[in-house]
Symmetry: C2
Subunit: 600 residues, 2 copies
Amino acid sequence: MILTLYTLVRKICKVFILILLSYFNLGQQHYNIGAMEVTSINFEDVLPKVKKSIKEATFITFDCEFTGLNAISNINAFDTIDEYYNKVKKNCKDFLVIQFGLSAFRYDKLESAFKQSTYNFYIFRKPLDRNIPDQRFLCQSSSINFLISQGFDFNKLFKEGIPYLNLEEENQYQQNLVEKHKVISSRATKSTDKIAIPPNDKPFIDDIIKTIQQYLEGGSDEPIQLPKCNPFLRKLIYQTSEDMFTDLVRVETKQLDNKEKVLNVTRVKSSDELKSIEQQKLDEDNKIFQEYIGFTKVLRYIVDSGVLVVGHNLMLDLVHTIDKFLTPLSEDYNEFKECTHALFPQILDTKFMSSREEFKDIINSNVLGHLLDSVKKEPFEIPKCEIEKGCCGYSLEDKKEHEAAFDAFMTGISFLAMWNYLGKDKNLETDEIFSDFNLLKPYINRIHLMRLQDNQFIHFGGVDPKPSRDHVFHISFPKDWKVSDIQQLFSPFGNVFISWINDISAFVGLYKRDQANMAFSCLSNHTSCAVTKYSEYKDRNYVGSDRGLRRKSDESCFKDVKKRKVALENSIDELKIPKAALQKKKSGNTKTFVENEAWD
Amino acid sequence: MILTLYTLVRKICKVFILILLSYFNLGQQHYNIGAMEVTSINFEDVLPKVKKSIKEATFITFDCEFTGLNAISNINAFDTIDEYYNKVKKNCKDFLVIQFGLSAFRYDKLESAFKQSTYNFYIFRKPLDRNIPDQRFLCQSSSINFLISQGFDFNKLFKEGIPYLNLEEENQYQQNLVEKHKVISSRATKSTDKIAIPPNDKPFIDDIIKTIQQYLEGGSDEPIQLPKCNPFLRKLIYQTSEDMFTDLVRVETKQLDNKEKVLNVTRVKSSDELKSIEQQKLDEDNKIFQEYIGFTKVLRYIVDSGVLVVGHNLMLDLVHTIDKFLTPLSEDYNEFKECTHALFPQILDTKFMSSREEFKDIINSNVLGHLLDSVKKEPFEIPKCEIEKGCCGYSLEDKKEHEAAFDAFMTGISFLAMWNYLGKDKNLETDEIFSDFNLLKPYINRIHLMRLQDNQFIHFGGVDPKPSRDHVFHISFPKDWKVSDIQQLFSPFGNVFISWINDISAFVGLYKRDQANMAFSCLSNHTSCAVTKYSEYKDRNYVGSDRGLRRKSDESCFKDVKKRKVALENSIDELKIPKAALQKKKSGNTKTFVENEAWD
């Protein structure tokens, strides 16, 4: 009685304290006023809402956070687009996407305003079982440090990250399950692959056999736990018990609280019971498999919707997203272009858009944060944008930069302001501006390539620009040369842009392009360095080294992609890969300029 | 007045709540009943205590947690020790040590008991500036998943990890600082490496020049902030202002709250003021450098002490520790052996010890957790072991397995129990047992090599065992062969141990060793597979492929090690590298068996 009273008083005190706590803000509760945080815990619950947001969106924006960025530092300012793609692809294979921010913007005609729904997905897959490769991935100290300094929660990521499977991985997983099922249902095949018991381990295994025999002779149905032993011995026990006690006992691995593994042995009443248990396990396997597709489902909704996809400095985000969540990146650049255009028929890169003629002079810097600062001021005007009822999102006052979802949100707002600017410039009403995409036509399907000279970009569904590099030279020189030596060499022809390859060679671009011929005829026979025209250098390198290789790789890639296409088509119904995208892919399979139907 | 009263009441309430909180355990305070957690926050404060613990210890134990383990799965059961070392070394270059557990055990003769001091260090270095390479390191999903499931705090690691520098990195860092100082003190050299201003950026830079001129004409001493711009433009501004406003202004990069960088310009009153500011900066650089040596100091204390170092399954921990915190691993295996023995003249591996004849039959499994379970029971007796006064440590009831420090503690306790067992077996008194290391002689400097057949081990300061592999064959076979095919092939000669190399070759060991000759003469001319003697295969591979390469690499390694030796010697005084260890290294530089003096 006294104890109960004491407990009651304790409880009342606790409640009292918690009330005080919330008043004085001493507690740990954080009210999420930003994006909806999505982890494996709430993923399945949130998914229908995400699907709805995508389906109803006028456009969506997204942004990824990675474990690091290798390639960017390897890019040479005078790389060809093909070389650029290959470097980015390499980067993509090494690093992981760990956060995916998604912001869906819906234009509400009644209110003449945009409605925003913003989600922040934590992405990480645990190697739950052997179907998931135990991935080794790179991290870059500076990226990790940057993220942690911005408050990124790595514990949450590793504990509650959402898994994903691209098509290739999904096929592999499915195959594994089919094979596992075969092995279980016809145990005979398995026993041919038996391991011989090493003489040293024989006494231990003999003891185990005795233990199981005694258990079977006894009356108890309760499982017994075998002595702890190493994984090799556990394998031997499995094998021996299958040999000697088929259909009599079931051996199972159990994990103790301290993560150690032990074997439990349970008496089986009939072979039917055993089969039903095995079927149940297979069903569980299939359920886990479905859960494992995880975040990939979100990408499939996006692809399925055909919605306009907007990002800032989109290249890396795009290749990672395709490779990780949809289908492994093609070896061949042109196939990558085709595939991307089929999956995402309408994309827009605000980095590209903001650097074009119309905006260049009114946007000082188009680093995302600076871009947002610019569009908050004259001559820009951000259209009305509210958080969708029942959803989550940010306001412009939030300071969550470099949280993936906030970057997606900032991209969306910057895009809206630029779109609005284009419309107001043509004296259009708000409803007119946002009711079709005509104003955006010059920017659609063109993405900026960071660090390249000449404002290069990829034109999906069209022909990439090929700016002249007649003013560029490849030069080789002694190891002790510095910037000043190269500048000195070219000084008769004006200033130069130098892009180092290594410490004995570089590309050099003349600012005064008309001096190119003069420069070449003067310098081509220089004694202490070798000057070659850019085009000749690239031709020679192509012919000299990897033409054969490239052709071979082209062929095998083509086969790969064909295989992928078949896999995609076969899996359309179960896997919800949008047929539309695939059909577009086929019809768009031409080298001539093909704009999306929306522009016709 | 009312406001003050209100503030006072608030304060009193807060105190009241905090008291209640601590009573009801609702707060965030955790009372550390385990190891002392050491991060960059408390590292410098704890260091003297750590030093004392090491200095007074009878022996120390340690254990590391890594971001992953590549090599282990690449090990072939019939690798030579040399091959084994090379695989482990590769592993070591890819992954990081993220936690280092250290347990120091001091035998107190007065109390006839051990006193334990245990520390858990979080290890991670941020790429603070250009002196620290922006490391790319591998993580393995399963390792990360395992650690997080054991409660490892990655946020703490990345936020508060302690930095470290091995000798090579330290030298590089120091060199960089010297060069930076040179550049600052003689600015003339810098201007020869000027970048030409691209025509597009000229208007922006001209605006900046005007802004600075106006600031200099005005009266204010307050700094002004320049417009936000990208890193390239910031570089141009630095360069231009140095050219045009030498000794008039100081340009500095400032990081805003949102991590964006802007440039501040401050008027300089005299060139002396500028110099004194630069000197101050250099002093700060040096201070940061000293801090950056960080955790390496702990390893230097250990090396300096010459104390007995105990670990469980020591190989990986040892190579990582040497490579990361002391000196890059030697290319050559024999040099690695020499170097390790010089640094750690007395090491003991409880995995090796517990698998020897004396313990084999009384220890079922020597996985660390199982080993501890074994030594808690008869015939073992754990000697009295308490936490050192004023220090931290564990008790046997704690369940913190796979926290590095707890693993170190478990290793220590298991070691003590085995040591005690050896003494009791010889009817020695407790004081006699723990007063010298004679009983341990057969185990000292021998470390277990996981996954190798024939109980192979490395014998530091001695000759490695070379168990016969006359019963082992290399076989090549068609791709569709399975375990059963190989077993079938060898069935006339008894059971075999198969160690796969890939899907068309394997090593096969006969359990009945006396059948080796018979087997070879029967199978050497087999039609569907090629059977080679192990020794012949290894010889052929050695001659055929990498003898030339190896010789070359030997030579260059030798030079490296020589360089390292000089570096070590030069840095002894400032860097507290133990002279003793280096001297031992020289005298121990012989291929014959050299036991440590303690055993003579």
